[in-house]
């Protein structure tokens, strides 16, 4: 039977698989993309001029950790979904909790602010460009992530693509946070998350075409 010969051929050339191969593949693509994004930010816009003083404010770290947590959870979910039959439930729960926590914080900030200050708090001064810059900075990370994913085996393709896109967006947002000087939780919640969501949507849209194996 012909299948026997195929089996013979495949086992004859078998090589051991390195440990943590999936994670390494992902890190390669994501890392390369993040490096490019970081350089782009540095060269084109630079960091925020007041970075040295900003790192003593809680607003800075809120942005830093919100985006970083979503990126890590998102790539964790991506690592799971890049494997046939693996589930990413805990990572999704984590993502929901992080967003929920910032929602609560935003509500509290808005409640304690005078009514007239609320709209400016939400809109900041950069709401028009913020999501676009996040999307732009995510492009190299997105490309790197999907380059890695192509070598893996996602079976729920659209879900995997959406999550991979969202994670790329979150990492792009983390890099943009070195530039962004907005300080309120509602701004972060709305415009940063919007940028990430758009990148996630793009991931879901290209997944079926790009992630076939």
């Amino acid at each position: 039977m012909k299948t026997d010969e195929l089996i013979e051929n495949l086992s004859e050339t078998l090589e051991p698989v390195p440990r943590h191969w999936v994670l390494r593949q992902l890190l390669e693509g994501v890392g390369a993309g993040a490096l490019v994004s970081f350089l782009i930010l540095w060269v084109s816009m630079g960091f925020r001029p007041d970075l040295a003083t900003a790192i003593h404010t809680s607003a800075y770290w809120m942005k830093f950790f919100y985006t970083l947590a979503l990126a890590l959870l998102g790539f964790w979910a991506t690592e799971r979904l890049a494997r046939p039959s693996s589930k990413a439930g805990w990572a999704f729960l984590g993502i929901a909790l992080v967003i929920f926590a910032l929602t609560v914080l935003s509500g509290m900030q808005l409640m304690h602010a005078p009514a007239a200050a609320r709209m400016p708090m939400i809109m900041g001064h950069s709401s028009r460009v913020c999501p676009w810059l996040i999307i732009g900075l995510s492009v190299p990370i997105f490309a790197g992530t999907f380059w890695s994913l192509q070598k893996l085996a996602p079976t729920r393709t659209v879900l995997a693509g959406t999550v991979a896109g969202f994670a790329s967006g979150a990492l792009g947002a983390w890099i943009y946070a070195f530039r962004c000087d907005e300080t309120t939780a509602p701004f972060l919640l709305i415009f940063f998350t919007l940028g990430m969501a758009v990148v996630g949507l793009a991931g879901g849209l290209v997944a079926r075409r790009v992630l076939r194996w």
Binding site: K2, L6, I7, E8, L10, P16, V17, P84, S86
Partner: protein, 179 residues
């Protein structure tokens, strides 16, 4: 079924460590499992093609098996993925034949000629016998069996040769991946 899970899993773990003998036993067992799975769902000839497709997928994506997880769900997720892919391809083929025929015939072929030149350049980087196989089967549309007869090799050797050749090409196009 539980005994099978334990046994298949230990074979898979050994295979991932590079043990050829265990891996051969595993693939043989998986061949039977897959044959049962596919023959209940598609025709006989398609079933055997799918078994081979799935075995190749299992082999090339074996690193995505997480040893902390049960093995059979991983196996059947791949089997199912290949089945759905097969059904979709089949549907696409029919759709093209009926709905898009005019569009295809009306198409300008200069782009195709350019793509063909690129393809030739890329193909020429492969060893001569592999080139010939890919040309016959993938470009000229001969069957695996015909190419095998012509080359004096078995059909499976041809299938594997083509698979390896295409994989080398795609590696070359997008950087190195696992052998």
């Amino acid at each position: 079924m539980l005994a099978a899970e334990a046994e298949l899993k230990s074979l898979m773990v050994a295979g991932l460590a590079g043990e050829k003998a265990a891996y051969r036993v595993l693939l043989t067992a998986l061949g039977d499992v897959l044959r049962r799975y596919y023959s209940r769902r598609v025709g006989r000839d398609d079933a055997e093609d799918l078994v081979q497709d799935a075995l190749i997928a299992i082999h090339t994506r074996r690193a995505t098996y997480d040893q902390g997880q049960p093995f059979t769900p991983w196996l059947f997720a791949i089997a199912r993925y290949k089945l759905l892919d097969f059904l979709r391809r089949k549907r696409v083929r029919v759709t093209v034949a009926l709905d898009e025929a005019d569009e295809i015939f009306a198409e300008d072929d200069s782009e195709a000629a350019m793509a063909r030149r690129d393809l030739e350049t890329l193909l020429s980087t492969l060893p001569e016998p592999t080139q010939a196989l890919i040309r016959q089967v993938k470009i000229e549309g001969h069957s695996m069996q015909e190419a095998a007869d012509k080359a004096g090799r078995s059909e499976v050797a041809v299938r594997v040769g083509i698979h390896r050749g295409l994989k080398t090409l795609s590696d070359r196009l997008r950087g190195k991946e696992l052998p």
